[in-house]
């Protein structure tokens, strides 16, 4: 009846996951009761869960990403603590548990933390920056988000029911085959990543289509903000490479479920093929994350330097160069697997060459600041911290790209330090900078700057104190993923690293405090103008928060930096453009199909993990039925009457006129 599922799946003997899951379950039940008591369900259901508004979906993506970053950070704390206490002793985590933790940490941080945040930013910003009202396929967008959430749910269910994979974040066979890992851990991984991968692919298709087909009038390709360019490159990579991951994991699934032999050691299987395929996705994945991060920094550097971005066209060229070359470097993840000199040399050189594109970008950002009036606001601090951190991460990367050097540092703590250096320093810093920068646009009030500065300095210092010792440990010969340590000389470095984690915890606390304090003081921090940072792209032309239709009248772009041109003209003439003629707008109706499908897809994934075949078939049929019902709908748009559009836009124009008058009194030209 219930396949492999019985009471032994609940980890009664392990207090740590048991207590954690009970606390989590209590929190969830508490939240559900709160929502019910306060009668928030209708609001949540109609305004968020079934919303097809790209802004709401973007916010939900970010929320999911932040929750998962905290979960992944908890894993990181446990790993660093374990390595610090397990010097010549067993530590407090069993090897099986420790292996699950580093697997979950990698999987969650990349696929369920960073990815949703990056996708959330793209979802929120691309339509606003392009001057359009929604993405190309709004309901599809909602399906994509809920499938990603479904994958995240499955990973977290594994904490309480069963176990997670112990194979590392990319489950290399033959270890991940049933012969060596008979449990359900790898199955949880496979279905969670597979389901969320479909969600990511959907969003990728959506953003590519939006950028190629839906720009507002006058927004030619070379007038798009750099963030849109990086989103385009990133989503092209999603569309090109996520199918490789899907195929590789599907083959591993067949090996595990149907005893096929794609990646086994026997019967003609070849485990090395999995490594090859998974990295053909895995390396572009790194750039899927970091390219939008570069876009965020480009926006921030130009805004806070009060200058147009230096070398816009070279920035676009560098982005597309990275987009293509990132697909030509994947072998550098397995130089040591036995390829000959020709292959290793080719991939070594292409890995080094990709640093040229990144170098172009770094110089462009530095030259953007040169001669500008730099304002050291919190987003700018994160960006400056990024330049410093990312250059060092990039240089260690060039070192690792040299095959002979890689043979010495492969799978060592040096590698661990390197990729945290580029992912934390590049992607995570960008996400925090972006949250700080666009928060007033999204919620209508800014974040408290003092706590933001505290969070930055704790994260920046904490990062270096945590990871600089890991570089040293790697050069001393410590390999990654050690459950206990037999060499006491490594002890001091591990203690320093643990102290760094302590500073990072202070950073996380500062971030959360900042959020609480800002919500408390929201009236003081209110953004009335819609343009709190003196921005340059179209999202700042809308009020904060933007109305659900974004633009009352579609903008007409007449140059690079669309909003800056409009703003300069308004300041020179001391008046806004004449009021346009408002017309009724058609907007897509909200739809529950995304939530419905993802709910049954989660059930399907869970049933497949535990081999409950009847439930899997039933859930799959129901998930598909959701689409069929949706396809039969008669009405898919509703009309926003012209008066409503006019009312919202006149309020915006009043705020802008007041702002303009204030500027005129001060005699300040932005």
């Amino acid at each position: 009846m219930f396949g492999k599922l019985d009471w032994s799946a609940i980890p009664f003997s392990q207090p740590l996951p048991l207590i954690t899951s009970f606390v989590l379950i209590l929190i969830v039940i508490g939240l559900l009761i709160l929502v019910t008591v306060k009668k928030w369900w209708p609001y949540l259901w109609h305004e968020w869960i079934t919303s097809v508004d790209h802004k709401r979906i973007g916010v939900m993506y970010c929320l999911l990403g932040i929750l998962m970053l905290i979960r992944g950070f908890a894993d990181a704390i446990m790993m660093r603590t374990q390595q610090a206490v397990a010097i010549e002793s067993a530590g407090y985590l069993t090897p099986e548990h420790y292996n699950q933790i580093f697997t979950a940490h990698g999987t969650i941080m990349i696929l369920f933390g960073a990815m949703p945040l990056v996708l959330g930013f793209m979802n929120y910003l691309v339509p606003l920056q392009l001057g359009v009202r929604d993405v190309a396929f709004p309901t599809f967008n909602s399906v994509g988000f809920w499938l990603t959430a479904s994958g995240a749910l499955l990973v977290n269910v594994s904490l309480f029911i069963g176990e997670f994979a112990r194979t590392g974040w990319l489950p290399y066979p033959p270890l991940s085959e049933t012969t060596y890992t008979p449990g359900v851990g790898v199955d949880y991984y496979l279905w969670a990543v597979q389901i969320s991968g479909i969600g990511t692919l959907i969003t990728g298709i959506n953003i590519v289509t939006t950028i190629l087909k839906m720009r507002c009038r006058g927004m030619s390709y070379l007038r798009m903000p750099v963030f849109c360019w990086t989103a385009l490159a990133s989503c092209l990579l999603i569309v090109a490479t996520f199918p490789i991951l899907t195929a590789a994991l599907a083959m591993l699934t067949l090996d595990r479920y149907a005893d096929w032999n794609y990646f086994t050691n026997t019967a003609g299987g070849n485990p090395m093929m999995f490594v090859n395929l998974v990295w053909a996705w895995g390396h572009p994945e790194v750039y899927i994350l970091v390219l939008p991060a570069f876009g965020i920094f480009s926006e921030i550097f130009s805004t806070f330097s009060g200058k147009p971005l230096f070398g816009y066209r070279s920035m676009v060229a560098a982005t597309l160069f990275i987009c293509i070359v990132s697909m030509l470097v994947w072998l550098h993840h397995f130089f040591t697997m036995g390829a000959g000199p020709a292959v290793n040399t080719f991939f070594g050189i292409s890995s080094s060459i990709i640093a040229v594109g990144t170098g172009v970008k770094i110089y462009n950002w530095i030259f953007t600041m040169y001669g500008g009036r730099v304002r050291f606001e919190v987003p700018m601090l994160w960006s400056l911290g990024f330049i410093f951190t990312f250059i060092i991460g990039g240089l260690t990367g060039v070192l690792l790209a040299v095959p002979p050097a890689d043979f010495l540092t492969h799978n060592s703590m040096f590698l661990v330090a390197h990729f945290h250096n580029v992912i934390v320093g590049g992607v995570v810093f960008a996400l925090f900078a972006g949250l700080e920068y666009w928060f007033p646009k999204v919620f209508g009030f800014g974040l408290h700057p003092t706590w933001g500065k505290a969070a930055f300095w704790c994260a920046f210092v904490g990062f270096w104190v945590t990871f600089a010792p890991l570089y040293v440990l790697g050069l001393l010969g410590m390999t990654r993923r050690l459950q206990h340590i037999n060499i006491p000389e490594w002890g001091p470095w591990l203690y320093v690293s643990l102290a760094g984690v302590g500073i990072l915890i202070l950073g996380v606390i500062s971030q959360l405090t900042q959020l609480v304090v800002s919500i408390r003081d929201r009236d003081k921090l209110r953004d009335v103008t819609g343009d709190p940072w003196d921005g340059r792209s179209l999202e700042w032309a809308t009020p904060s928060p933007p109305p659900f239709f974004n633009f009352a009248v579609m903008p007409n772009v007449e140059g690079e930096e669309a909003y800056w041109g409009i703003k300069l003209r308004a300041v020179e003439t001391q008046q806004l453009a004449p009021e346009p003629k408002y017309e009724a707008i058609e907007m897509p109706l909200h739809s529950s199909v995304g939530f419905f499908t993802a709910f049954f897809t989660s059930v399907f994934g869970f049933a497949m993990v535990w081999h409950i075949w009847w439930m899997a078939i039933l859930a799959l049929v129901l998930a598909f039925a959701g689409f069929v019902v949706f396809a039969w709908r008669d009405k898919h748009e509703f009309e926003v009457p012209a008066e409503e559009v006019a009312r919202v836009d006149r309020a915006r124009r009043m705020a802008r006129e007041a702002f303009l008058a204030r500027l005129g009194e001060q005699g300040a030209v932005p």
């Binding site: 090395m272 008046q575 346009p580």
Partner: protein
């Protein structure tokens, strides 16, 4: 501070001639032309499929050349699908589709050729011990 407002008159004929169209989303044209186009494509693809099956078992052409002939027929088949069913043309309203096709081909080329090259190296260098023994004289 102002405003994203524009001249609404610019919007009246938003659908320009040069606008790019997705496959299946072209502006409506005469039904007969569409049906003729699809039938022509169907005819070509049937001819190419039948030719491939017949050629494989026949001795019409020089036998070692049959694989090459099959590859030629396969590529022609792809071309027929692209032109008649996916409506890829060289016209200016089709730039995105052609670029998307080129990008897809590039990705497939890179992954397939790269994998074959890498795996041949790995198989050569990482041969299982028993096979390696067999190769010793």
């Amino acid at each position: 501070m102002s405003t994203s407002d524009s001249d609404p008159r610019l919007y009246e004929n938003a659908l320009e001639q040069t606008e790019d169209h997705a496959p299946g989303d072209e502006p409506p044209e005469e039904g007969s032309h569409w049906v003729r186009n699809a039938n022509l494509g169907l005819g070509f693809s049937i001819v190419l499929t039948v030719a491939a099956f017949l050629l494989a078992g026949s001795d019409v052409i020089y036998e070692p050349a049959i694989p090459v002939a099959l590859i030629v027929l396969a590529i022609a088949q792809m071309g027929v699908h692209l032109v008649f069913f996916l409506h890829i043309t060289t016209g200016p309203d089709n730039t995105n589709n052609v670029l998307a096709l080129a990008f897809g081909l590039l990705v497939v080329f890179v992954v397939v050729i790269g994998s074959v090259w890498i795996m041949s190296h790995l198989n050569q260098n990482m041969m299982p011990m028993d096979q390696l023994m067999k190769m010793q004289p």
